[in-house]
Symmetry: C2
Subunit: 111 residues, 2 copies
């Protein structure tokens, strides 16, 4: 299973390292403990929304840019958009049997 | 402060509603409690990476697509890329005084 926190932590670490900054500097700027930041960077701890915002502010980057980077990596890891029905919507299969073109899941509407 | 969980929850809710599915259906498919899913959708609870993956699977959407949508919203909410130095890097100000063109923070390298 691909976990968001792993990719997110790696993106935060890359950003910090590109800036040539240490864990100590960034954790102090973000007012989080060094150990916590290190665990977040290694994907071992979920960053709360507040702490993610604080870490991004400390790094001087937009959360939007970090998430876009993570989204692009996830897209590669997850592969093409699913063409099958959502999990738990197997009962819809008979409705989509006749669909000839690849469909995206958002087109599937539960009865 | 713009919080990721609020935008993420709203994106998950929109996805579910576009599919015409109920909280009950999706929470059962994702094997999370209905109350938990509801709180996540309302931005009141952080979804762990595992549960975010399970909810996305239940909705039949890629996490990558949900995050890209959230990233685009965040970009609007956060405004243009910062041109100031990162928080906690005020000591760099003298280095950037002479920069005439807008710079992105990733160009700022701590001493």
């Amino acid at each position: 299973m691909i976990l968001l926190r792993g990719l997110l932590g790696a993106a935060l670490r890359r950003t910090r390292q590109r800036q040539g900054r240490t864990l100590r500097e960034v954790s102090a700027a973000a007012r989080v403990s060094l150990g916590y930041l290190s665990e977040v960077e290694r994907g071992q701890k979920e960053a709360s929304s507040e702490l993610l915002a604080a870490i991004c502010a400390a790094l001087g980057v937009r959360m939007a840019d970090v998430l876009r980077e993570v989204s692009a990596e996830l897209a590669v890891a997850e592969g093409p958009r699913p063409v099958l029905e959502p999990v738990g919507a197997i009962e819809l299969a008979s409705d989509v049997d006749m669909v000839r073109t690849p469909m995206v899941v958002s087109d599937v509407v539960a009865a």
